[in-house]
Symmetry: C2
Subunit: 458 residues, 2 copies
């Protein structure tokens, strides 16, 4: 169990005599994350993840990893330092390189602090013993920091210079099987984004600097998005405006019902062909034993960006709201204020709840706000700002051993007055919903509300 | 379950016409890791972790993390890029900086690719709202890549330029409570190293570039170690020769029974005092509300180095041997060769074993060597080189549905002929031993052998 009194959550303060130099544009969720002490700004464009947000990051890593493994992905680690020589071979240092961090070692050899690893993984395959067609398809992924020296960092974690990415690379024998892999990984992405329960738009995208032929982007729709998307209200078709240049009607169904929205790109998939395997000499032995270029795909998910953008979509100006599977804790339990005459009786209820709730949702998923020197009101306000899915208040009213009344707040803004067993039932429903999401069973919001059967809403 | 036919494990080949330029010294375990395709050399001094070794790394991360959390540690992430300005304030750029990777961003601002994070974490605390003495002690840790531009990289993962570290930083109100924290974290380290079951030596160490007053190092004793240690055979006292300069007798018990051994440093703990908090202005509010310098400690464990050094100590020239808790898989099951007349019957046994063994040890811990086009001998040789704790062979002899005989090999070099239930019992004993290690219950090797009660050793 986690005690609020012990958690390092350094709320933002501005020293009285400080000249506030707003070097960076912050969105509402990023402002909340910073004010509440979940994320701290390091030097311009880098971020420090504090313990509560780290829990969300670790949950996101686990979820992405499990989906990649289900799609046949094998986890590896490639060095952050990639020799620039490899990037010269693929021509990616010929264009604008101002976004790359480059560093030289003591011998003068130059490296990139990798923003992505197509060259590194392809060169790795080019120097192994020849892969047989029987070993393909091959799907390798990693989860680690990436670097991009952005001209303008914005919205905190959403566009930072150092960020956490999942990158997967696929290797196939032909364009045809590569397309099958592409479809399969896209299906894994679809499932992941459904698990996060944040509305997303999948669009046909430009291949840009990556090269290749087919590409899709996954976007969260938000005013702070940096991409313009075109969406067809009739058939659901969507495209990045870069690709679908202002058509009068939908390229898919011809309807004129097109609207433009702003999107935050949270994931990207590319069919790369032999753009990297050819110059770097990454081949496999085909059925006749002859070497042939591997056909590649690459698939990125911005872990920290998914969290930041999901919060931006779900949160209000004053309260964070998390995807259920990424909330730092499932349940926050606020104990009675010290010194009140009901304290001893309320504490009996509190201890019983700690035990029972912890057993239902997992003790690690329970945050106990044990700061009894603070009023319940102050702690409840903070709990609401932090956006815990369920917050249970053990207040003066609860202190009736025969029939305690507990105030339960959900992150959707509902408040219930529940007895002991109704409270546990609500916790159990939340845990069950999380489990079905993890299994990939999706339920609509309406069904979910219908299935909630306890207590009465205040 | 994991199928050997699908796992990317690129065995090392040297092209026939290649001039082998041995740029780096490899130890026996590192040679095996490379030859078997568990680790690949990136550019000079960096390493690529392949899927099987990645499993070991992930297990090590989980184990270290759980021990740090038990010691009250809270997980965070600090950026890899640390502004060099912070290091100027603490004087750590005044000495030899040839081991640091430094990089400038597009505005010309200089950063270190952090080899450690004392400055970053202290500066972070200096810019939060003042911490009250009530919030202390505070222990923050992270697990991530670190960078050191070594003059001479050696022994693969053991001394690489980019490596994975766990680093914890503690903050206390006084030297006295900082010493309590120091003792507590050292106890967590002791437990961790006992869980790994590799003999380790804990020595009094020099504080060196870190500064501070008290320091201990954890070493694995190995001829490839780069430190000279002095050990007293009478009382067990040990010291780094840098600190304990060639005494005639033991500084602790006066015995003259001192021997010198070589050690690989796998972990290090420091009591830092206010060496960092003072220049960077990291204070807390004491009981009278006055700001006072935080008293710090720092605690590192080289994750990739622990794995590499443990392998070096445990392995032979031809076979890897892993700490039980870090083996990529618990059990390898070698299926029958295809085309033999016993194949159909043996496959019935094989499928039953896959199900039952997987249920006992966890399906993710079972590696199924399904490459039936290869002989059992060839696959068994590879399994032995990979060092799986248990390897079960379903061969021609097994193909008796009434009483199958299975050959079971342990990584200690024992071979058993067992029936079905005896085999499951051996797997269960291994899993139970792992579980007690995870709980921190330690059993000596002798007790362990005594408690093994199945079959007869061949
Ligand atoms: Zn349409
Ligand atoms: Zn002695």
């Amino acid at each position: 169990m986690n005690k609020a009194s012990r958690i390092f959550c350094p709320a933002l303060i501005t020293p009285k005599n400080a000249v506030v130099k707003q070097t960076e544009q912050l969105s509402r969720s990023q402002k909340l994350l910073t004010e509440l002490g979940l994320v701290k700004s390091g030097s311009n464009g880098t971020y420090q993840i504090m313990p509560m947000a780290q829990r969300s990051v670790d949950k996101c890593i686990d979820l992405v990893q499990s989906n990649m493994q289900q799609a046949g992905g094998q986890k590896i680690t490639l060095p952050i330092l990639t020799p620039t020589g490899l990037w010269k071979k693929t021509g990616r240092l010929d264009g604008d390189i101002s976004e790359f961090y480059m560093v030289r070692d003591r011998s003068g050899k130059q490296f990139l602090m990798s923003p992505t690893h197509e060259e590194a993984v392809t060169a790795m395959l080019a120097t192994t013993s020849p892969i047989s067609y029987r070993q393909l398809p091959l799907r390798l992924f990693q989860i680690g920091p990436k670097f991009r020296d952005e001209l303008k960092t914005r919205f905190g974690l959403m566009r930072a210079k150092e960020f956490l990415m999942k990158d997967m690379y696929s290797f196939d024998v032909s364009e045809e099987t590569a397309m099958e892999t592409y479809t399969l990984v896209n299906a894994a992405y679809d499932r992941l984004f459904k698990q996060l329960e944040v509305p997303f738009v999948k669009v046909n995208a430009a291949t840009g600097i990556m090269g290749g032929s087919v590409s899709h982007e996954y976007h969260y729709v938000s005013p702070v998005g940096e991409d313009n998307l075109l969406q067809c209200s009739s058939c659901g078709f969507a495209g990045n405006s870069e690709v679908v240049k202002a058509p009068a009607s939908c390229p898919s169904c011809n309807s004129s019902d097109l609207k433009e929205v702003r999107g935050v790109e949270v994931a990207h998939t590319f069919l790369l062909g032999d753009k990297y395997s050819k110059p770097l000499g990454a081949t496999f032995l085909n059925t006749t034993g002859k070497p042939q270029s591997l056909v590649m795909g690459c698939y990125g998910i911005g872990i920290t960006r998914v969290i930041a953008a999901a919060l931006e979509v779900l949160s209000s100006d004053h309260e964070l709201r998390w995807p259920k599977l990424l909330a730092p804790y499932d349940v926050c339990l606020i104990g009675p204020k010290q010194g009140s005459k009901e304290q001893p009786e309320a504490e009996v209820i509190e201890n019983e709840l700690l035990l029972n709730v912890g057993e239902i949702c997992g003790h690690q998923e329970l945050l106990h706000d044990d700061r009894k020197e603070l009023t319940i009101g102050k702690r409840l306000l903070e709990a609401k700002r932090l956006g815990h899915p369920l917050t249970i208040v053990v207040g003066a009213k609860s202190a009736r051993l025969d029939s305690p009344k507990l105030e339960v707040h959900t992150s959707k803004g509902e408040t219930y007055e529940l007895d002991f067993s109704e409270t546990l039932k609500l916790v159990a429903e939340h845990s069950q919903h999380k489990k079905s999401l993890e299994r990939g069973c999706f339920q609509s919001e309406t069904e979910e509300s219908k299935s909630r059967s306890v207590g009465h809403q205040l």
